[in-house]
């Protein structure tokens, strides 16, 4: 009830109204406190909806440190301040910076967080409009400081505070006053403390005393949803839904999910997820030998946006995921148009994006091995066995020899062939596209005519064998590969749950992929399957103390 009051006050301050949050009265009768408190009052039948498959495992709950991207987005959404991405140590696992287990904090990071919090708080209190988002009252009014701390904590901790949790922040205010600060400067310092607190820096999921696997409270579910889709904290509408405990049922989760997905902020999911998984984020940092090609910043940012736009089309439109490898690429922007393309050339599918073709090349030539490996490992989640310990060094490659012959030469050694025969053909069939993604018919350095026709004998990986004549055939092959579907779900799982499956939950992605494909095989439905699932909506305290 108290939370709703806090929420009401702030919502209305923000919109300049004096009425209380309209859902406040109604929702107050449902016991959000039960869910946030003891983890008790939960609609068990509802929550088990899509997670009905009893084989799905709820892994140990793991709080996630905000990524630098999420930190800046949260500050921007909650406080209205455009904060720079802080210089925190940042790690990634399985390609994603959202994985909890590898994010560490050591003393230099505290220094960074503190300095950033100081700059942000200073900007909030120096700007009348940003300041007005928060309760305005004078120091003499009883409860003034508490109401400020409470409403800021609700948004920054993304949940109502626990009993006694906020007292320490009142002490910051009092100590600042005692050192001679005025009211606003003392409040500014309490905001610094809130922004430096572990409760802000980590997305904590509070578990009930009862122990065992339990439904997450609505605030935790709301937070998972908002960071998944917006890379940021829940907005007031979502907090209100959480306060009304609406995120314990399939319908409640679905309504929130649909609203977040429809919001323009879902572009952040596109940037964070596809940016990391499909490599669009690497375009900006990809290096091209400037003596071979004038790879301008303008081209890089255009190719990045092109990748995001293409992926976003699959989030917004009811297209099956397989079509990711066949839908027409819209007309290029001004920089990309300067890449050579033959008259009337149409590009179709992800594999034809110059962003993909360039970032899977070396800085001055293509590498069929890199491209083929990316397709197998990243797009199909089919990792190769590690190279043999005694990788032979191939020094006696006869020269001159075209690139294709060199690649094939490597496979003469049976130790190398084991893997190269699996990955190289997919890359060789893309050879009509050079190291920046331009179409070519001949190699620029030696004038050898490009031959992108590949025939592969049947094998474990390719039971039917492969006949590839070029890019379209590679696209068709990838789209037909069943691993493609599980791989998308696997990546969504790692990104969305912030964990790489281990022995306990290694089957979850596969099970979720089955559930997903029993309905429409669209990207949004894959996301929906994930957010409705038990692993997404339940917590597990793990081992006993």
């Amino acid at each position: 009830m108290r939370v709703l009051a806090v929420l009401g006050v702030v919502v209305c301050t923000a919109c300049g109204s004096t009425t209380r949050n309209p859902v406040g009265g109604e929702a107050g009768s449902t016991a959000w406190g039960g869910a946030a408190g003891a983890g008790g009052t939960v609609n068990e039948a509802g929550a088990s909806g899509a997670g009905d498959s009893s084989d799905l495992v709820v892994p140990t709950t793991s709080m996630r440190r905000l990524t630098t991207y999420e930190y800046a987005a949260t500050i921007s959404d909650v406080l209205g301040v455009d904060a720079a991405r802080p210089n925190l140590s940042q790690s990634e696992q399985a390609g994603f910076d959202t994985v909890a287990a590898v994010q560490h904090v050591s003393a230099p990071d505290i220094d960074v967080l503190l300095g950033s919090a100081e700059r942000v708080a200073q900007q909030v209190f120096a700007n009348a409009s940003l300041r007005s988002r928060w309760p305005a009252c004078s120091a003499s009014q009883p409860g003034c400081v508490a109401s400020f701390v409470e409403s800021a904590a609700l948004r920054l901790f993304r949940r109502p505070a626990l009993e006694g949790e906020l007292e320490a922040f009142g002490v910051v205010y009092d100590e600042a006053k005692a050192r001679g600060a005025d009211h606003d400067h003392a409040l500014e310092l309490t905001l610094v403390a809130l922004l430096t607190s572990s409760q802000f820096v980590y997305r904590m999921e509070l578990l009930g005393d009862a122990g065992g696997i339990q439904p997450l409270d609505s605030f935790a579910v709301a937070t998972r949803l908002s960071y998944l889709l917006w890379g940021s904290a829940p907005d007031d509408a979502l907090l209100t839904a959480a306060a009304a405990d609406e995120l314990q049922t399939d319908d409640g989760v679905s309504a929130a999910f649909q609203r977040l997905l429809a919001d323009p902020r879902a572009r952040r999911f596109v940037e964070n997820f596809s940016g990391q998984w499909l490599g669009f984020r690497r375009i900006a940092t990809h290096t091209v030998d400037y003596t071979k090609f004038d790879w301008r910043e303008g081209l890089a940012s255009e190719l990045t946006a092109e990748g995001y736009d293409y992926f976003e089309g699959f989030l917004r439109e009811p297209r099956p995921w397989q079509a990711f490898f066949s839908v027409d690429i819209p007309a290029p922007g001004p920089f990309r148009a300067q890449l050579y393309t033959p008259d009337g050339e149409k590009r179709r599918g992800y594999l034809s994006l110059p962003g993909f073709l360039a970032t899977t090349s070396l800085d001055r030539r293509t590498s069929p091995t890199l491209r083929g490996n990316f397709i197998r490992r990243v797009l199909l989640c089919d990792p190769l066995p590690p190279p043999p310990a005694d990788v032979p060094v191939i020094e006696d490659v006869p020269r001159p020899m075209g690139l294709r012959s060199q690649v094939e030469y490597i496979s003469r050694d049976p130790r190398c062939a084991e893997c190269h025969k699996i990955i190289d053909p997919l890359g060789l069939a893309l050879e009509h596209y050079d190291f920046v993604g331009q179409y070519r018919t001949k190699y620029a350095d030696d004038g050898i005519v490009v031959d992108s026709a590949v025939a592969v004998e049947p094998s474990t990986t390719y039971p039917q064998g492969l006949e590839l004549k070029g890019l379209d055939d590679v696209s068709a092959y990838v789209a037909s590969e069943p691993k493609l579907m599980t791989c998308l779900v696997n990546n969504l799982y790692v990104y969305g749950l912030g964990r790489v499956p281990d022995d306990t939950d290694e089957r979850n992605p596969e099970l979720l992929a089955e559930q997903w494909q029993s309905g429409a095989s669209t990207l949004s439905n894959a996301l929906s399957t994930l957010v409705q699932s038990k692993p997404f909506r339940y917590g597990n305290p793990g081992g006993t103390p």
């Binding site: 709080m63 230099p108 503190l114 578990l207």
Partner: protein, 467 residues
Amino acid sequence: MNRFASRRTVLRGAGVALALPWLSSLAGGSALAQAAPKRLRFLPIFLPNGAPELWKPLASGRGNEWQLSSILEPLKALKTQVTVISGLENGSVFNADGSPSVEPAHSRQTGAWLTCRDADQERKQLGVDDANGVSADQVLSQKLGVSSLQVGLSTARSSCDGRPCSLSRSVSWSTPTTPLGKVVDPGQLFRMLTGAAPDEPLPAQSGSRAARKSVLDAVASSAGVVRQRLSQQDRQRLDEYLEAVRETEVRLSSSQPNACEPPASPTLPMISDDAFRRDSDVYDKGRHADAMNDLVAWALHCDAARVVSYMLEDARSEYEYSKVPVRHFTSTGSTLLDRFCTSYHSAQTGAEDDYCSITHFNVGKVAALCAKLSSLPDGDGASVLDNTVIMLGAAMHGSLQYCNDLPTLLIGGGGGKLRTDQHVVLNNRPMRDLYITLLNGIFEANVGDFGVNATGAPLSMIEELLA
């Protein structure tokens, strides 16, 4: 869970050392209590991406018997303080047959560089997603109860090779599960070293020492309220956070300012570790290195740190040294070419002149730091460099990304205990032999064991290095 309890104890010790002048830090009964009065420092400097073949001096021996290679030419004025070591390897950490082939090379070999442990094995054994051995610099810091710093010049994130980025972006580990982040912004390092800028705000204001202390107190005490509602593993992660908070508090509370004049405040714009991919009008790697060197030299001279790990770049760096001119190198010298360097990693894998030039540039920055240290007095007519061991080295060989013949050299006198001005050629000696030689032979840290060796070869001192 004892691991974590002991970790806190260890860090508490390190924190005290950070805050108090050197002699007071011995109250904890560290080994240094009986040690010589000299203040010895250890400074491992990480050279990413290996080094070209031309790194290696042609001849071995001492004094006039050997000369620096063309790539090491910037160290010319310091030659009498240099020991080049060839023939060190770390493949024996990974492979029972001692093979130098380790994949993925950059991440795993860098992880083992200062730890001589295979992070893949450590993770498996501890059942966690991120683990490694405690690194040699941290063993030293903990054994002697002296404070340490971690710095670097990386401004462009590069691929972590599909392993946790802790292996590629840090080389110091204070516990098997705690990689230590590094400071890349000289402005931040300046604030950390001096406690606060000389123009410290008034006590009532945000940013002042008193205000920051008050903030950190609140951060620590409010976390206690949520702790019991977290999963078991989250409590450990919260403890890691609170430990870092506590270290920062201890530093802020240090009531005894350093006797040295504060260093000059760096004039560079704020630098973050994903801000700059190449040299430009707004950012220049050389100036970044100069600013960092000034502060590192100050920290060592003024005893703000005895142990500093310094990453010239992260593993597999793709930074473009676009203001470093390319030189064509031969075994006897180099000539200037009419262009600038490309990306570090692509130079390593295919542009020999660029690779040599980038390595030469980095050796030059290390030489400049050493020259500075040799100009700073450290009592009894010795310089800081005389009482320091700088270890410049790489975790992989070179263009061939093997884990043998690791480019390694020592600079400094080690308090007179290091035999210098020589090129020592070893026959596949494990890196851990070098560390045990430094830890026990130079620093008298009484370390019983260090790292692992899958071939079963016992740990042994490299006597050739000792005076």
